[in-house]
């Protein structure tokens, strides 16, 4: 930067120096020319004024008195006394003329050149040469040789005084009767006056001698012939002469000859250096000013241009910085009005930011998915532990429940019951079956087990579910209406799952109504529509914030701890597994609306193979077989024994695996009903392995009974074995059916 400025300055200075030299030279030449011209003009004017002096002089000679006196004087005899008077007349006329013309010297001669009268202004008499008549200009005037102005001028020396004179003849009747010479002293005052008039320094030369000068720079020593030579322009190859190192433009005016015959000259000198210096200085000053002005203006221009370019750039940079610090990366610079560079830059920036944003979005999405995965993992962990707990609980419940249900069945089978007792027992059986269903449900939640599908009445399921919650709604002062459009709506599905779906939706509405509603109500409608069953839930709650997200996992608007956010997502999953659809939307009049649709069962009837109804014949026939029941729960063992006995079989019951082993080794059994979980370190599975090893024929005669349907290992084992199994709590009918079927299979195989 500094270097660049320096170089620029140097270049400018160099250019200026060159320019200055050129200008100086040009100015010098031009000025010399101009001055020479000027001096020529001045000289011409001076010459003319001298000429006018002659004319004036001539005019003065027209005085009749002068002429008469002169002419008469000429003819009068010397003896006559009147000559003196005539001479006095001439003298007085001459004085008059000299004063009139303001001259310093005036001389009149007669026709032969003899001086008749002399007039001068000095106190000391002028000493004129004796042979005045023979001076060139006087002689020429009298001779009447061709009259020229040059020849009429001359220089008179009187002692140290020099006069510049002009001489005219006095003519009478075409004859010269005398001459009149008029002149001025060329003293210091004369030269000063000349200098003032001609505006030049003047040097008076007589021959080579310098008589006078207005030049201060012309000292006595310079009054040499050399200076004179220079002044006379003998070395006039140049336009100027050089005196004492200074340059002058010289012009010479010839003043005529002096009596000695030397030429008298007046040299005008105009100092060239001063003029040139002055001119070039002023020009240089102007040049400098112009240059400075140009520099300044170009600087301003450059600054403006750079601002023009840099300002938008700076704005852009500021914007980029701002964007970099702000989390919002979608902002874009409004650069459409900016210059092309900034626009290009902005386009690149926009591209970069777009890709950045895209990446950001992708990363965000991945992070969200990752989070979701982690959440799901957590959920599954939670569910697994819940499942473990539930399956444990279910197992514990199932065993007594199996006893209750089985015994109730047996009781109800007996015909000896009075109707009132039978009714009560039936109620108990129904409630017991509800418990069975609830436990199953718990296990389902734990395992996401898709339970068995069956043809069922959706209206029935809905009604039952509504009844479950009606009490709560009434207590809270909410209105709960169920408005089915028709009495039956057959679908193929799992009742418990569907119940869960409906329950979830009702609970959801309940919570929503609790939050805010003027008229808290929930209306459930069901109708058939083009082969589908359509159920709508409409509540008067605040509605959903984002209906599209309600089925996402963990989406909840409830306070933390109030809801898991799983309810609706499970609902969605169940509906989909039933081949149905669920849509959530906000009602225009407020509140949320869920619309569910399921395929009607009639349309699916063909696909479902009707479970083979137990044949009445086989059911009626007694089961005559030795059956070993291995069951650690005594109640259930006893129940099984009772059931088997009731159908004619011969059961033997053991509580442990070891006992079962002993029984098997001792006796032949047609059927082994084996509880998977056995105490005493010898489980049902181990027993099965043993049978597999030692009594392979017996393998096909095994029916498993388990209360541990939730256990993965148990499930895997059961599937692998391919054996029939009964889930606790089982009904008598199921139990008998399983026994008969196994035996039938064996019989068919045999």
């Amino acid at each position: 930067m500094l270097f660049g400025t320096l170089v620029t300055l140097l270049a400018v200075a160099f250019a200026f120096a060159l320019l200055s030299v050129g200008i100086r030279r040009q100015t010098r030449a031009h000025l010399a020319d101009l001055l020479a011209q000027n001096q020529k003009t001045v000289l011409a004017l001076q010459k003319r004024s001298l000429g006018e002096l002659l004319t004036t002089s001539r005019l003065m000679t027209e005085s009749p008195t002068l002429r008469a006196a002169m002419e008469t004087y000429e003819t009068e005899s010397p003896a006559a006394g009147s000559r003196a008077d005539l001479l006095a007349t001439v003298q007085s006329e001459l004085d008059r003329i000299r004063l009139l013309l303001g001259k310093d010297l005036a001389v009149i001669t007669d026709s032969r050149g003899s001086i008749l009268a002399v007039s001068f202004d000095l106190s000391t008499p002028v000493q004129l040469p004796r042979d005045f008549g023979s001076i060139a200009f006087v002689r020429r005037a009298l001779d009447g040789s061709p009259f020229t102005e040059d020849s009429s001028f001359g220089v008179l020396r009187s002692g140290e005084t020099t006069y510049q004179v002009g001489c005219v003849p006095i003519v009478l009747q075409d004859f010269p009767i005398g001459t009149l010479t008029l002149g001025n002293r060329m003293d210091r005052a004369y030269l000063a006056d000349m200098r003032k008039t001609l505006q030049s320094d003047v040097v008076l030369l007589l021959g080579d001698r310098v008589l006078g000068s207005t030049l201060a720079a012309l000292p006595e020593a310079a009054k040499s012939s050399q200076a004179g030579e220079a002044l006379l322009g003998r070395s006039s190859s140049r336009d100027w002469v050089e005196i004492e190192g200074e340059q002058f433009v010289a012009a010479t005016l010839s003043l005529g000859q002096a009596q000695q015959g030397d030429d008298a000259r007046l040299v005008l000198l105009r100092p060239l250096g001063g003029e040139v210096t002055q001119a070039s200085r002023s020009m240089l000053l102007t040049l400098c000013l112009c240059g400075l002005l140009a520099l300044i203006s170009s600087g301003i221009l450059a600054w403006r241009v750079s601002r023009l370019v840099l300002d938008p750039l700076e704005r852009f940079v500021a914007f980029v910085r701002e964007v970099a610090h702000s989390p919002d990366h979608s902002r874009r610079f409004q650069g459409s009005e900016e210059s092309a560079e900034v626009r290009t830059l902005n386009q690149a920036f926009a591209l970069l930011m777009d890709s950045l944003q895209e990446h950001e979005q992708r990363i965000l999405l991945q992070a969200r998915e990752e989070m979701l995965r982690v959440e799901r993992l957590k959920e599954s962990e939670k569910l697994a532990s819940l499942g473990r707990m539930l399956s444990g609980a279910a197992h514990e419940i199932n065993n007594p429940l199996t006893g209750v249900v089985g015994n109730l069945d047996i009781l109800l089978r007996s015909t000896s019951l009075d109707p009132a007792a039978r009714e009560r027992l039936a109620k108990m059986q129904k409630e017991a079956h509800r418990i069975v269903g609830l436990v199953k449900n718990l296990l389902k939640v734990a395992h996401r087990d898709t339970g068995q599908r069956s043809r069922l009445d959706l209206i029935q399921v809905l009604r039952e579910t509504v009844e479950l919650r009606r009490h709560d709604f009434t207590a809270a002062g909410f209105e709960l209406r169920f408005e089915p459009a028709l009495s039956h709506l057959p679908v193929h599905g799992n009742e418990l799952e569907l119940q869960q779906v409906f329950l979830n939706l009702i609970n959801n509405a309940y919570d929503a109504l609790k939050e805010a509603a003027r008229e808290p109500h929930l209306v459930i409608r069901a109708r058939s529509e083009e082969g589908t069953a359509v159920v709508t839930f409409e509540d008067g709650g605040p509605g959903m914030k984002d209906p599209r997200k309600v089925f996402d996992h963990f989406y909840t608007t409830k306070e933390i701890g109030k809801g898991t956010g799983l309810g609706l997502s499970i609902t969605h999953a169940i509906v989909q597994s039933h081949g149905g659809r669920i849509v959530a939307e906000n009602r225009r009049e407020g509140g949320a609306r869920f619309v569910l649709s399921f395929p009607l069962a009639s349309a699916l009837a063909e696909t479902t193979t009707p479970s083979p109804a137990p044949s009445a014949s086989s059911a009626a026939a007694p089961v005559s077989a030795n059956i070993l029941v291995v069951e650690d729960e005594y109640t259930i063992l006893e129940l099984q024994m009772a059931i088997l006995s009731s159908v004619g079989a011969t059961p033997a019951g053991v509580a442990t695996g070891i006992e079962a082993l002993q029984h098997l080794q001792r006796r032949e059994y047609q059927l082994v009903i084996l509880d998977l979980r056995l105490p005493g370190g010898f489980s049902g599975q181990e027993l099965y392995r043993w049978i597999e090893k030692n009594r392979p024929a017996l393998l096909r005669r095994i029916i498993f009974v388990t209360g541990d349907s939730a256990s993965e290992s148990a499930r895997a084992f059961l599937e692998q074995s391919g054996r029939r199994f009964l889930m606790k709590p089982f009904t008598v009918e199921d139990y008998v059916h399983a026994v008969r079927e196994t035996l039938d299979d064996l019989r068919h195989a045999a």
């Binding site: 002429r67 003819t75 010397p78």
Partner: protein, 259 residues
């Protein structure tokens, strides 16, 4: 002012034979015009016979023959070419006159005469007027402008004052000498009245010849006069019945500066 009464008539009776002889000469030389003719008639034409004759010629030097310069600040009213173009005319300004003690004796008998010097075209015409002393010269103004004739000469110093065309002033010259006449208004005007002692004077003809036909015998001084030259004198002796001759060259020699 002095008056010089010079009468020509008084000269007639003693000079009859001379005048007679002069008349013959006049007849012989018919070509003599101008003043010479006039003078021949007015002059000694009635002179008695028995005298001698003088004949001669005058030549003017180059300085006089050609007027070398003429510059006038005033325009030439006549519009004619300047006289410098007619150098021959200058001969007319030459006067030849005789002088001798004998002739001086005739002086008193000569009757007074009147001459004219007119101002015409800002010039005195004639430029040179020889008169015998005692003659009266009239200066009539023939120009349409005023003139003022004056003289500073010792023999007749006068100033006639300004007068217009048609007016005339006269003056009588009693003393011989040269009277330079000027005009106070026009500086270039000049004339000469040559006042002579006797009537024996003449002007040369255009060729410069002059002739005195009838002169009483005796010794004379012949003077050729020109205003710009020193008078040239010759001594001649006139014998009865004989014709003498004298030639003049004016100036004969370069005129020395008279101090």
């Amino acid at each position: 002012m002095k008056r010089f009464q010079i009468g020509a008539q008084s000269l007639l009776s003693p000079a009859l034979p001379i005048l007679f002889g002069m008349a013959i000469v006049v007849i012989l030389t018919l070509a003599t015009p101008g003043i010479a003719d006039e003078r021949a008639e007015d002059g000694p034409s009635k002179a008695s016979a028995g005298g001698g004759a003088l004949r001669g010629s005058v030549t003017l030097g180059p300085r006089l023959m050609a007027r070398k310069m003429r510059f006038s600040l005033y325009p030439d009213l006549s519009g004619v070419a300047p006289p410098a173009a007619q150098p021959a005319a200058e001969i007319r300004n030459v006067v030849i006159y005789l002088s001798s003690p004998a002739l001086d004796a005739l002086r008193s008998t000569e009757p007074s005469r009147t001459f004219r010097m007119e101002q015409r075209n800002e010039s005195f015409v004639p430029h040179v007027l020889p008169v015998m002393k005692g003659s009266t010269v009239e200066f009539p103004n023939g120009d349409p402008i005023y003139h003022n004739v004056f003289s500073l000469s010792r023999v007749a110093s006068f100033d006639l004052g300004r007068y217009p065309r048609g007016a005339s002033r006269s003056i009588r010259f009693d003393e011989p000498g040269v009277v330079k006449v000027f005009c106070h208004i026009h500086s270039d005007m000049s004339g000469v009245v040559l006042v002579l002692d006797n009537p024996f004077f003449t002007a040369p003809g255009p060729e410069g010849s002059f002739d005195f036909p009838d002169l009483p015998p005796g010794e004379y001084t012949v003077t050729a006069w020109h205003e710009r030259a020193r008078p040239v004198r010759r001594q001649v002796v006139i014998q009865a019945g004989r014709t003498s001759s004298v030639d003049f060259a004016i100036p004969l020699e370069d005129v020395p500066v008279s101090d």
